[in-house]
Homo-oligomer: 498 residues x 2
């Protein structure tokens, strides 16, 4: 067969995978936003079927042949990188014996249901045997995948290629000691924002209307996306022109919807601005979990929680907000939305303490995978670390070790990306402010140059570059926690006047 | 291979087809209710891909082998009927040369877009060449499929097996002459309902809340379904436990949403009550287009437009309706929702004139397929027939021959089902009233026995029976237009006092 024909066939093969992916994504979106309760069971079968199809195509003999034959014969950079990404997926999946993978899938599905029950009943013992199995599966996968220094590196690699335990154990302590010192200053400060002044009834429909305004300001395109309600907010790209966001509303605390939506909007902007030439290839998505998170945290923490943002938007906010906000001035408002207060639940944590939650989880899962601790010790160790880092002890496991679904889904090595994304975001923001008068742009409400800068520097590439390649291309240095440290110190010093 | 193994394999094969069908149905639902405008193009590719997969599986050598080997070797009635339905689909598709089918699909897709334009611009000439092609395709398909008496029978068979031109040309004239005579009496009556008394602003959210109440009364299960807004209302089963309805709202005429939703609710109830043993087989849907329509029209016209229904629900209605309805008494209300007035658009037609719209379309498409008329004559002939049957002439083709999408979708032989469904519904209602005190049940609001009777007599069977088999099993006679004639005469005599 002519090489050009084979390339075309390969592209069609990838299209087919992507058609399944798009259909499956719609099912996932629907299952989390719209599906009637009794429809779930049969829909799950369909999801399983489509997932299996994708897996088959990714690991087929045919895929192996395409990789082998096309990789040495192309100088098209997009095609080459596409092949590399396919190859990585192929190798990763091929290394796992089929029976092991199937057992894992079954355990994972069961575990998620059991975790849900365990969380509801605050009963870690119920979840414990499943978690043990999932740790063992992950250890086994890691040993099949291979690693150089630390078995946990094999898991990290899946979510954030280029990042290792070595790297994390270098940056996290620096970040931690600074966070803890800032936290101490915050806690001893005489400034005590009073959240009750903004915890007033704010009708959902008004919150929806206001957050849609903010998404539009960011440049999120509603002709290529939509916003729906869900229990656990997420962003999901069906295709590049249909990138959906979800959020949740607390009628007594608008911060949940406003900052949650902007966070998902950051993910959404990323997916909406990937180069259309990458469509229907595995490159048409974010570079990594961490780079993705950098975009959501960029918009949430560096733009939407900034003072200039509310200088611009507070009047607009007051148009939608209940009358009681008229008594809250901009300074008080800004202080309150940035209140620092150690709390149990990661996804409700403030900007300063958030990374500490991630470190706790990272340390525990690294130790588990390295067999330095056992699952039975988790509740106790979790609470101990919470107390050490945040000075509070969860009263229940539901608010402690059982809070997140990720372990039940079998995902280990995933959490560090949340903190990495945060550090990336600070580093990117720092570079951006050298290129653009970012604060004054925010103050005037013209966010377009910021959006365009991100699209040009990051979004357009999709998975065409590795995560650390994107970071260094944009910021001219490798991962550096100092920017986040400086950002937080400066911000909270001003707010808490220490 | 052991026969039992082969049966199991066949069932798995059907499951696979059904997984694709369910995913595709979700895509269709989404495309008509939720998708952002720019997402359509790429999603259409996915729909095409999944549709092609289904078609391949339905017409494969493997399917042929299953039919051949299993059909003579089963005494399981469900399995046997499943094989028959697969065989019919297989034969129908196999008879059409692949190239012809592909050309048809391309023409059909283009035609739908062109029809949209033609309708918008009121320009039949734009649509004419496509319509010509679609008529030719249908003639060609019909000659491949074969027929005994009339070429149009081959097309009818696809939607309403058992019904022929012979049958229709026997029942339609009887129905028509009665409808026209009743219409004349209505038009010369001194009673003139004034629709302006109910055409008052009725906020959408209130309409949603009220119609949901009515759906619940009917027994539509919201844990196995949902209701959304759309431009063209429809009901769509994703699976039996996720049967979705859509409706549209006119804030100045609540009748559109209330009766439209109940109509779709009738379709929905049917799908929700199919025997679960038929799940994941091609039997798990309505027996035919006509039987399906009988269920929607049963609820819309025989229940929801009846006097007892509003004796029960008028107080509830007033709770949701704007204050101005307080001046409308139940008698006036009942009269007005049943106003008879010839109008141009089929889907907005009243209960009495609706079948006349169907007959016009039937006569024209039968003549087209039989080459007794040509496409060029359609606008003229349409208007002539409208004038003959309904006494009004559409001022534009947009309100005339261009009003429906069906022809643009390549569907000929489909429209008679609408009128058949109406006659079936009347016949079924007649039988039901011998079994149950139906009017008093409606008056007290206890619709459960009615729902159960329909589920037991019709819904549970899905496609296990042929349409006319269902009709005769339920009513002990074959298609008989007299019940509809009697129903309409009696009803409008009472309302219009002639």
């Amino acid at each position: 067969m002519k090489l050009s024909d084979q390339k075309q066939q390969f592209k069609n093969y990838l299209k087919e995978i992507d058609y399944y992916r798009e259909a499956l994504s719609l099912i996932h979106w629907d299952m989390r936003t719209k599906i009637p309760t009794k429809g779930v069971e049969q829909r799950s079968e369909v999801a399983g079927f489509l997932g299996e199809k994708i897996h088959q195509l990714q690991t087929s003999k045919q895929m192996e042949a395409y990789i082998k034959e096309l990789k040495p014969n192309t100088d098209d950079s997009i095609l080459l990188r596409t092949i590399e990404v396919c190859e990585e997926e192929y190798e990763r999946n091929k290394k796992i014996p089929h029976k092991l993978y199937k057992d894992f899938m079954i355990t994972q599905t069961k575990s998620e249901a059991i975790w849900q029950q365990a969380k509801e009943n605050d009963d870690f013992h119920l979840f414990r045997p499943y978690l043990k199995k999932l740790v063992d599966f992950n250890r086994e996968f890691a040993s099949y995948w291979g690693y150089e220094n630390n078995i946990y590196d094999a898991l990290l690699h899946k979510f954030e290629p280029g990042i290792t335990v070595n790297e994390l154990d270098h940056v996290f302590p620096k970040l931690r000691s600074s966070l803890r010192s800032t936290l101490e200053k915050v806690q001893t400060s005489a400034v005590k924002p009073d959240p009750s002044i903004i915890q007033v009834h704010f009708p959902k429909q008004q919150q929806v209307a206001f957050t849609e305004q903010l998404l539009k300001q960011m440049g999120y395109d509603f002709t290529s996306g939509r916003l729906d309600e869900t229990v656990h907010p997420f962003a999901i790209p069906l295709n590049q022109n249909d990138v959906r966001l979800t959020t949740r509303y607390n009628e007594n605390d608008f911060r949940m919807a406003v900052f949650g939506t902007i966070h998902e909007g950051g993910h959404g902007l990323y997916e909406q601005n990937i180069d259309p030439r990458l469509a229907r290839t595995p490159l048409a998505t974010g570079a990594s979990m961490g780079i993705h998170e950098s975009q959501s945290l960029f918009w949430e923490n560096f733009i939407a929680r900034s003072y200039p943002f509310w200088e611009k938007n507070y009047d607009l906010f007051l148009q939608y907000a209940p009358h009681s906000f008229q008594n809250v001035d901009l300074e008080q408002f800004y202080q309150t939305i940035n209140e620092v207060k150690p709390s149990f639940i990661r996804i409700e944590a403030d900007e300063l303490t958030y990374p500490l939650h991630i470190m706790i989880r990272y340390e525990l899962e690294k130790a588990l995978i390295n067999e330095e601790i056992i699952v039975d010790d988790l509740p106790h160790l979790w609470n101990e670390k919470m107390n050490n880092y945040l000075g509070i002890t969860p009263p229940t496991d539901r608010e402690g070790v059982l809070q997140d679904i990720h372990w039940a889904g079998g995902d280990f090595g995933y959490f560090p990306s949340y903190a990495l994304g945060y550090m990336y975001a600070a580093q990117i923001y720092h570079t951006l402010s050298k290129d653009l008068p970012v604060e004054s742009l925010i103050r005037t409400g013209d966010l377009t140059p910021i959006k365009s800068w991100l699209a040009k520097s990051i979004h357009q590439y999709g998975k065409l570059k590795e995560p650390l390649e994107i970071l260094t291309d944009v910021t001219n240095e490798t991962l550096n926690p100092d920017y986040l440290v400086q950002h937080l110190e400066k911000k909270f010093k001003a707010i808490y006047q220490f």
